[in-house]
């Protein structure tokens, strides 16, 4: 097999560039798993308590939708790793996509490959190096996951099952991204394919899980995330399932290899279409809209589809409840309570997703700056403030718009499914109330861009921290003041909690203050060109 000359050197280059990213992500994940396991073990020392809690959680469609089923309610590992397992899978998938993309498409697009192109390397070497690094990272993540879980006190067999499930997810997305990278010229489009596949896999698995037992339940077997779940760590430890992602990955890599053989450097399989000789764009705002519109449309469509499903399920929640769970729920406040909880929890997750869009949208500004585009824009009569606003407005309006879309569609979907409009307001306001904390996160991203132009990843770190605080804050018994750092902790979780306007107004004021700070920061600093 020829064409691999230089793979070792490119692998070393890739590792050199990612020597902080990879260990930081993988170790953070392992630490989260360890503490999560330890905390859960401390929480449920009594088997009976544990079973009830597991069954109650297992009956919550919101939990099933996000994290999947707890297959063995008596197993400690089951409940201990329910949340953290899915988070591990998603983190692994994102890391795999990032690694493969960074060392293939992104390098081609920046022109760095051309610099290497005259040196000695085979045609297959770049993809091979990127894939190898990603596979090794997946393996490392799996091992650390297993060790963290076992060291936390769970059974070693189950821990290894979970570790290998994490590795399997990494493998699957290495394969998928390797193909995505062949399909298009643009790094951004490849990202859309790869992340889109992750969203789709999550969605498919979610529908499969929510309909387990029925025909649609099969869907969970069509998703690489579903395969990882079906290994059932701590609830059967079905190692044989791992064969599926292994074969899938191999198949993807072979396809990617084939596709690669038939394309030039930096071109995609789809030919370049010629464009227009005269342009309609005439301002910084036009440009920002043009750059972001595909992404916004993609997000809006995904959100709308998801909202339809979530809304439809509102009336179908009772199907999951077993007798013991029903009993416990009655103690908690009744079926109505459960529905309210479902709606508010789902709205919370959609808000985090909207925040991902928002942060990404603001960080386009960073991309424009580091690529040299901003220099040309700011040399015209566009001021710094206007430049910030050109993308900032899209970020703010886009995220608010996405949450409004989710609320309205979810309400509509439920109304159509239940045949009545009485619950529309209750359903949709759950999403609307999440807008202020999301805007705070977007404003923080603006501040990061303005004050930390060389460290844009801080904005992502803040978002990840909010997520961890929200999901694990109570479990890990983090002090109240730390949990209160997340803006999401302050709003009333409609409809489960009563409405209160004070936190909403405070968060909106905070957003305004942060944006002002961002404007000040941007106006006083130098432009950081590449």
């Amino acid at each position: 097999m020829k064409g691999f000359v230089g793979t070792w050197h490119l692998l070393r280059l890739a590792w050199r560039r990612d020597r902080v990213l990879i260990p930081a992500t993988v170790i953070s994940l392992a630490v989260l798993i360890y503490y999560s396991v330890v905390a859960t073990l401390a929480l449920y020392s009594n088997v009976a308590e544990r079973v009830i809690a597991a069954k109650a959680a297992g009956a919550m469609p919101s939990v099933i939708a996000m994290y999947g089923h707890i297959y063995d309610p008596t197993s400690l590992g089951g409940i201990g790793t329910a949340k953290v397992g899915m988070i591990g899978f998603l983190t692994m998938a994102i890391l795999a996509i990032a690694i493969v993309r960074r060392h293939t498409r992104a390098e081609e697009e920046s022109g760095r490959f051309e610099l290497l192109g005259a040196t000695v390397y085979g045609r297959r070497a770049p993809l091979a190096a990127a894939v190898t690094l990603s596979l090794l990272t997946s393996l490392l993540a799996g091992v650390l996951t297993a060790v963290a879980s076992g060291a936390g006190g769970l059974s070693w067999t189950g821990s290894w099952a979970m570790g290998l499930a994490v590795t399997a997810v990494g493998l699957s997305w290495t394969g998928i991204t390797a193909i995505a990278v062949q399909l298009s010229e643009s790094n951004r489009t490849c990202g859309a394919f790869a992340f889109g596949s992750l969203a789709l896999a999550f969605f498919v698995r979610m529908i499969g899980d929510l309909n387990e037992g029925s025909f649609l339940g099969v869907l969970t077997w069509l998703s690489p995330l579903g395969w990882a779940q079906q290994v059932r760590p701590f609830a059967g430890d079905r190692f044989w399932v791992l064969v599926i992602p292994a074969v899938f990955t191999l198949a993807c890599l072979l396809v990617a290899d084939r596709l690669q053989a038939s394309r030039d450097i930096s071109s995609g399989l789809f030919a370049q279409r010629p464009g227009v000789a005269r342009g309609q764009l005439g301002s910084a705002e036009d440009l920002a809209q043009r750059l972001q519109r595909t992404s916004l449309i993609g997000w809006a469509v995904s959100f709308a589809l998801l909202a339809v499903v979530l809304g439809f399920l509102i009336d179908n929640l009772t199907g999951f409840i077993t007798d013991e769970a029903a009993d416990m729920l009655r103690k908690m406040g009744g079926v109505g309570m459960m529905t309210d909880l479902y709606i508010s929890v789902e709205a919370g997750f959609m808000a985090l997703a909207a925040a991902v869009f928002g942060v990404g949208s603001v960080l386009r500004l960073h991309g424009e700056e580091s690529s040299g585009h901003a220099e040309q824009i700011l040399a015209t009569k566009v001021t710094r403030t206007r430049f910030l606003a050109s993308h900032g407005v899209i970020a703010f309006v886009g995220t608010a718009g996405l949450m409004i879309l989710v609320g309205v569609v979810m309400g509509l979907s439920h109304a159509i499914a239940s045949g009545g409009w009485s619950d529309f307001w209750r359903d949709s306001t759950a999403s609307f109330v999440q807008i202020p904390p999301v805007l705070v996160i977007v404003a923080i991203a603006c501040v990061v861009f303005a004050w930390l132009p060389r460290q844009p990843w801080v904005a992502w770190l803040v978002l990840a921290a909010c997520f961890v605080l929200g999901e694990f804050g109570a479990l890990l018994k983090l002090p109240d003041w730390i949990q209160q750092l997340s803006p999401f902790a302050h709003i009333p979780k409609l409809p489960a909690e009563p409405m209160s306007w004070t936190p909403v107004l405070i968060l909106l004021a905070l957003t305004a203050a942060l944006v002002a700070a961002a404007v000040v920061g941007l106006r006083r600093r130098d432009l950081a060109t590449a």
């Binding site: 697009e109 010229e185 643009s186 370049q272 010629p274 464009g275 227009v276 000789a277 005269r278 342009g279 309609q280 764009l281 005439g282 301002s283 910084a284 036009d286 440009l287 043009r290 750059l291 690529s371 040299g372 585009h373 220099e375 040309q376 824009i377 700011l378 040399a379 015209t380 009569k381 566009v382 001021t383 710094r384 006083r524 600093r525 130098d526 432009l527 060109t529 590449a530």
Partner: protein
């Protein structure tokens, strides 16, 4: 009043001093050449003039205004071509020209059409498909088609073929005849020599020499090459002569301007059958400034 006035500008990035008390003037209606080795501070100076960077101390004005605070009013009257043109990959060349032109405040339609044709640019190609030279043409066309008073050009022709270079030179002369001002940062000495009215040479963040080409030449040696009727003697004793090379009856040397008549008299004593006098090329001026750097 100078169009651009810079006094004692200092800019430091971390431990590197990019601009070290830089002082420079650009007069209205002139092409001012800005020469210097890589890393001397040329691009940094242009960026300070555009308000992209804030100087640590010293003062700079352009068109009478402060580049850091008066962005909106000043930038309407300034056109910029960056040293490294980065275009949006999915936009076509035509779209970028129109975008930047409009963001700047307007494009002359007729000029734009003419420029696209003269520079032989295909405006329907997406920016990612352009070669480096074509990307530069996009930036150049959008700058030249605008109606600015001052043009800040950072190596505008570095990727262009000689034909396009001469097209650019034509347009530059036209613009200057029209009363506009150009600050041209370049490594192409022949181009600077041909176009510039005055030149500033920058090294290590400060201007070490500035003046018209004639003034700069006056400070340097003329190159003389002659064929004599007899083997020359005693030429090395003529004051101001250096780089003396004698090959039979052919002789060549450099002589400082004030000692030129002594040298010519010395040659005349031997009988001259052929004589060439060349003023120093800009390359010689430039390189002689940097001889010190290498030793």
């Amino acid at each position: 009043m100078s169009i651009i006035e810079i006094r004692d500008l200092v800019k430091t990035f971390g431990r590197t001093r990019a601009l070290d008390h830089l002082t420079m003037d650009v007069q209205p209606g002139e092409v001012h050449g800005f020469l210097g080795p890589n890393g001397a501070g040329k691009s940094t100076t242009l960026r300070v003039l555009l308000g992209l960077l804030k100087a640590d101390s010293g003062h700079a004005t352009i068109l009478g205004g402060d580049p850091w605070t008066d962005i909106e009013s000043l930038h309407r009257r300034i056109s910029y071509v960056p040293g490294d043109v980065a275009l949006w990959p999915n936009l076509t060349g035509g779209e970028v020209i129109d975008l930047i032109g409009r963001m700047r405040g307007g494009l002359d339609e007729k000029r734009r059409k003419e420029l696209v044709a003269r520079f032989d640019l295909d405006p329907t190609k997406k920016a990612r498909a352009y070669s480096k030279g074509n990307r530069q043409k996009v930036a150049l066309i959008s700058a030249l088609a605008s109606d600015a008073e001052v043009y800040l050009l950072d190596e505008p022709t570095s990727g262009l073929d000689p034909l396009m270079e001469s097209t650019f030179a034509e347009y530059a002369r036209e613009m200057v005849a029209d009363g506009r001002t150009i600050l041209l940062s370049s490594h192409i000495l022949s181009e600077v020599e041909a176009l510039s009215d005055r030149i500033s040479i920058i090294r290590n963040g400060s201007v070490i020499e500035t003046g018209t080409l004639a003034e700069l030449r006056h400070l340097h040696a003329t190159n003389v090459a002659a064929t004599l009727r007899q083997t020359p003697t005693g030429l090395d004793r003529v004051p101001g002569v250096s780089n003396l090379v004698i090959a039979g009856t052919h002789v060549s040397f450099s002589v400082e301007a004030e000692h030129l008549d002594d040298a010519l008299a010395a040659l005349g004593r031997h009988g001259v059958s052929a004589l060439t006098c060349q003023p120093p090329t800009l390359e010689q001026l430039f390189l002689s400034k940097y001889e010190g750097q290498l030793t």
